[in-house]
């Protein structure tokens, strides 16, 4: 993990503490202070993890005015757990998202980089909330792999495999996810991550452009148009 | 002419019973035996060639004794003639697999229906006959009198008296013929106590008792969750209420235990009340204490309920409503299957129940080629009591419609079949020929197809399409046309001729919903007095304790 963090933040990666596969801290990107948090080694996110991240974001809002917030995602999701559900895991995630929204409203840019697993709930509960979302080429981005989807939907895997050639939403990975507009840019292993991150921070803005991207790239053709039809009909 | 045989048969049974009991010897302390000695006790009291009765009702089971019996081998037990009403436990099936049974006479196989069909196909099920309940109880007094009866009770006292609690069911019907013919009555009880709440079986009629290590098996068989009642069932309930209950002013009745009749029970305090029928119909009931009866009872519709068995969770409610239910001196609920079946046969205006399959002649059955389930209580109640004399309004009215000839009885009991035209998965309910008529099944049953209710006994068939009044049909062709007329879009229904249906409708033999003032648009689950189990608990004032599997709060 250390080497990956150094690729993003150079020596300033020292300011990021890694505990129980959860990262929180502050570092520098192109000389600018950034707030960093995220997961590594595909770990699960539970109630306590959500609280730790939320506390970090609140601290950033309070003490590091307008510092961009960089979210790194490598998590397999939430662990199905009786106690977690009873205590309201959804509410813990909702709280984390609310903290991120307050940060956005207070002028913090939100940048996400999917570094490893960015699957289902783990991606939705913070990373997908970024103003700008990028992913490493090697990252496993998406709802779930085709075999898992086949097991749940009872549709044979070969059928899904075949369909995925015309439906990128069924494919699993950073590139097809980018086709849908869910990822702005896919970084290759050869890229200079620090420079990429600096560029991402510079270009991030609070407009959610994913539907437009999905249409432009052809992976998600309907979203923008259907949304605009609703806006038109309701505006009459 | 003197017959030496007759001298020998004066009291051999009594002497033989004495020998069997002596063989038990020190394994018993008085009447009481230990749980672990049960297999040995059974070995000593049962002889080859015996008629053995194993108590298995459709709710309670002498399951501990059955399980112990199933541990015996051919060495200990053979050539047994098994008689029982409900052959429903895996242990029962085990007896056949081990080849211990020479002949079996029973009524109902329910959950073991598939196992029975398989045993039959393999030639391992030496069937005498499949009976209705009252038939088998009757034969206990004729040619199927048990030598040994293994029964179940809730409690015994130190003298050996038994308490049966809510589920008396058929215990007396087994014990009496056995005890009064020098047979051995062996009871498993949940516990032995000093004082019983009341005595249901006197110690005098009990020979052996064991305190079972686990309480007897008891199924909540008749609990129907109102949440599962569909719009179609409500429509049919409305059709039946107007076209039959109201028309014939049905005073006394038996209900089946399906969701269709549950819908009717739950419509009484709402739709029935709107129709002004309260106090005019449905006063006396021969049904188990069905939880879905609670709203009608609480709204004052019901004057009396007699039951063939209890229902798990209804103990406190029935005790608190002793004006309605039969209760013992201790205040708790009492049932009796034999007497209940008799009441349902001779004492009531109407039997109404659902069926899975009905043929174009009106015969119905629950048997399929893969499952031989036998009969529950329906055939004794869903048939004409040919010797009946006492008149009631409904009986005479239905009798007049059926146009009795000079040699026939003047009245007719209403025997009503509720049948949605399709079962789940688009399986048609109406067929040209019943699965029960399958030649292999018929052969195994010695030429008798296992028909649940005969077409000749049925007076009305109710579907979501309307009512066919079979009793008013003059010929078998007319009856078939009437059935096709309400069989909807099943293959049987698609064969109807429009002109025939029109003619039968004009003569009142077929009634469509609109003829009865019922519109599909009026159908709503909000008409149900209680829409879920919780609603029933609230109606009962907290007296109904539903089993855990029905509790979602």
């Amino acid at each position: 993990m250390k080497t990956l963090l150094e690729k993003f933040f150079g020596k300033s990666a020292n300011g990021i503490a890694v505990k129980d596969k959860l990262m929180t801290g502050y570092a520098e990107v192109a000389g600018q202070e950034v707030c960093v948090f995220g997961t590594c080694d595909g770990t699960y996110i539970d109630n306590a993890a959500a609280l730790r991240f939320a506390a970090h974001v609140l601290g950033c809002i309070e003490n590091h005015s307008k510092a961009p917030i960089v979210m790194l995602v490598d998590s397999a999701g939430q662990e199905p757990n009786r106690t977690a559900e009873m205590l309201g895991l959804a509410s813990y995630f909702g709280h984390l998202l609310s903290c991120l929204q307050l940060a956005r409203q207070n002028g913090h840019k939100l940048i996400t980089v999917a570094t490893g697993k960015a699957i289902g709930g783990a991606f939705i509960c913070y990373g997908m909330f970024g103003d700008r979302i990028d992913a490493l080429e090697s990252a496993s981005v998406g709802l779930m792999p085709i075999e898992a989807m086949s097991a749940v939907t009872k549709i044979p895997a070969p059928t899904l495999e075949k369909l995925s050639r015309t439906m990128p939403s069924l494919e699993f990975g950073a590139k097809p996810f980018a086709l849908l507009g869910g990822v702005e840019e896919v970084w290759s292993a050869k890229d200079d991550y620090a420079a990429k991150l600096a560029a991402a921070i510079a270009s991030a803005n609070t407009d959610d452009n994913r539907a437009a991207l999905g249409k432009k790239r052809g992976g998600r053709k309907l979203s923008l148009d259907v949304r605009n039809r609703v806006l038109d009909e309701s505006g009459k | 002419m003197m017959n030496t045989m007759s001298l020998e048969t004066k009291d051999t049974r009594r002497r033989n019973k004495g020998e069997r009991m002596r063989r038990v010897g020190k394994l018993a302390s008085g009447k009481f035996v230990s749980a672990k000695s049960v297999p040995e006790v059974l070995r000593r009291i049962i002889e080859p060639g015996d008629i053995l009765c194993l108590e298995g009702d459709n709710q309670k089971q002498a399951d501990f004794l059955a399980n112990q019996l199933a541990t015996l081998t051919k060495k200990d037990l053979r050539d047994i003639h098994l008689v029982m009403s409900c052959l429903t436990l895996p242990a029962h099936i085990e007896l056949f697999k081990k080849g211990l049974i020479r002949q079996v006479d029973f009524c109902y196989a329910g959950p073991q229906g598939q196992a029975v069909a398989e045993l039959l196909a393999d030639g391992k099920f030496p069937l005498g006959a499949i009976h209705t309940y009252n038939e088998i109880y009757a034969r206990y007094y004729v040619d199927l009198t048990p030598r040994v009866a293994l029964i179940a009770a809730v409690q015994a006292d130190r003298q050996g008296n038994l308490f049966l609690a809510a589920n008396t069911e058929e215990t007396p019907a087994i014990v009496e013929p056995t005890a009064f013919s020098d047979g051995i009555v062996f009871a498993q009880v949940n516990e032995i106590v000093d004082t019983l709440p009341r005595i249901d079986i006197p110690a005098d009629q009990v020979d052996l008792i064991v305190e079972a290590p686990y309480p007897m098996h008891l199924t909540a068989l008749f609990t129907r969750d109102p949440a599962a009642i569909t719009d179609v069932q409500i429509l049919m309930a409305m059709i039946a209420l107007r076209g039959i209950y109201q028309k014939y002013e049905v005073q006394s009745l038996n209900h089946g235990v399906g969701f269709n009749t549950a819908a009717i029970e739950l419509l009484l305090p709402t739709y029935g009340e709107q129709l002004g029928l309260k106090g005019k119909i449905c006063k006396y009931w021969m049904v188990n204490p069905l939880p879905t009866m609670i709203p009608a009872i609480e709204s004052g519709w019901v004057k009396g309920v007699f039951s063939v068995g209890g229902e798990v969770g209804m103990e406190r409610y029935t005790a608190a409503r002793s004006d309605i239910f039969f209760t013992g001196r201790d205040g708790s609920f009492h049932s009796n299957r034999a007497m209940g079946q008799l009441a349902g046969h001779y004492g009531v205006d109407m039997f109404i129940g659902a069926t899975l399959q009905i043929d174009v002649n009106g015969n119905s059955s629950t048997v399929s080629k893969k499952r031989i389930t036998g009969f529950g209580g329906a055939p004794n109640m869903g048939c004409q009591p040919m010797g009946r004399r006492h008149p009631t309004k409904a009986w005479l009215k239905a009798g007049a419609e059926s146009n009795p000839g000079p040699g026939s009885i003047p009245g007719r009991k209403l025997v009503v079949q509720l049948a949605e035209t399709f079962q789940s998965g688009r399986v048609p309910t109406f067929v040209e020929e019943l699965d029960a008529q399958d030649p292999a099944i018929k052969k195994a049953l010695h030429g008798v197809a296992p028909v649940m209710i005969y077409g000749d006994d049925v007076t009305h068939v109710v579907t979501e399409e309307g009512i066919a009044n079979l009793a008013a049909c003059r010929t078998i062709e007319e009856r078939r046309a009437a059935i096709r007329g309400v069989a909807g879009y099943t293959p049987v229904g698609l064969k109807r001729k429009k002109s025939e249906t029109k003619d039968l409708r004009a003569r009142g033999i077929i009634s469509l919903p609109e003829d009865l003032g019922v519109s599909p648009s009026d159908v709503s689950r909000s008409l149900l007095a209680a829409q879920d189990i919780k609603g029933l608990v609230r109606w009962s004032g907290g007296l109904y304790d539903p089993p855990a599997q029905f509790v979602d709060w």
Binding site: P80, T83, L87, L89, S169, A211, G214, L222, D225 | G542
Partner: protein
């Protein structure tokens, strides 16, 4: 004696019709426009005219609102591309026009058959919820059916200003069957309905404060609850979120070691759990207050 139709048994369209002022509902992208999923037919799954989401404008108590109602029966109320785009659209319209948005939730989350598109769609809808909140436009989620709000939809409802639940409603991320598969039947029996509802149902969520109101299982009760909340919004503030942080930390510390919902009920002032389980929404709210 006849009772009202139970909210949890109504279809989405029936719910909308019975919640709003009579005849005031105008649907956007109504069925004749046939804005449907192009993906389901490729998987041989039937389509629906509204793709499982009915959206429009109506009045509640004379006040104009935007509404969205999910059709739980249709592929589990799941969010596909079209469904999600309609949802985002109505939320963005609410933010644009300053009109409150009421969302009747009945969904297991992302529509797996449409893969990652549904996942992105939920994320877009979340952004749109917060767009409303940033402008102090109230967003109210109503969860009142057995299907409940699960997966991404569970998370989305926790992003809204307010949640109204009935005791039939459930709120969570992982459903009971998934948990049972993961932890084993011993640890969590998904067929034990009483346990499942005690773990994730409306009453427990109301006690914990995750549901702001507990309404009765009928449209009139839900409408009354909506009316109470329509005038308010719950803007995000540092002070408010710090308080929430403390509350959630305390909850985790106090109850994190138990899996017994009764312990939560007892600790939160319910003395007689059996009585409270049977209680109606109004009775339960009164019992909960007595603490």
């Amino acid at each position: 004696m006849s009772s009202a139709q139970l909210f949890h048994e109504q279809t989405a369209r029936q719910r909308l019709a019975s919640l709003v002022d009579p005849g005031s509902f105008t649907e956007f992208l109504p069925p004749p426009e046939r804005v449907m999923s192009p993906y389901l037919p490729q998987l041989d799954i039937p389509v629906s005219f509204d793709d499982g989401l009915v959206i429009g404008r109506a009045k509640i108590g004379g006040k104009t609102v935007y509404l969205a109602a999910q059709v739980g029966q249709f592929v589990g109320g799941s969010v596909g591309e079209v469904h999600g785009a309609k949802l985002t659209g109505i939320l963005k319209a609410a933010a644009r026009d300053g009109i409150p948005c009421v969302f009747i939730v009945e969904s297991g989350g992302v529509r797996l058959h449409e893969g990652s598109s549904g996942e992105i769609a939920i994320s877009e809808a979340m952004r749109a919820v917060f767009e409303c909140r940033a402008k102090r436009v109230p967003t109210i989620a109503v969860i009142g059916s057995d299907i409940g709000a699960y997966g991404g939809m569970g998370i989305l409802t926790t992003c809204c200003d307010f949640r109204i639940m009935t005791e039939h409603g459930r709120l969570g991320i992982s459903g009971p069957i998934v948990i049972e598969k993961w932890m084993g039947k011993q640890a969590y029996d998904s067929s034990n309905r009483a346990l499942v509802w005690k773990t994730s149902g409306g009453k427990t969520k109301f006690l914990l404060g995750d549901a702001d109101m507990l309404a009765g299982d009928d449209a009139a009760s839900v409408t009354a609850a909506i009316k109470k909340l329509l005038a308010k919004s719950s803007p995000l503030t540092l002070k408010g979120l710090k308080a929430r942080q403390q509350e959630l930390e305390k909850r985790l510390k106090t109850f994190g070691k138990t899996s017994d919902p009764d312990a939560i009920w007892n600790a939160l002032g319910i003395k007689n759990v059996a009585e409270a389980s049977l209680a109606s929404a109004t009775e339960f709210a009164a019992l909960a207050k007595k603490k």
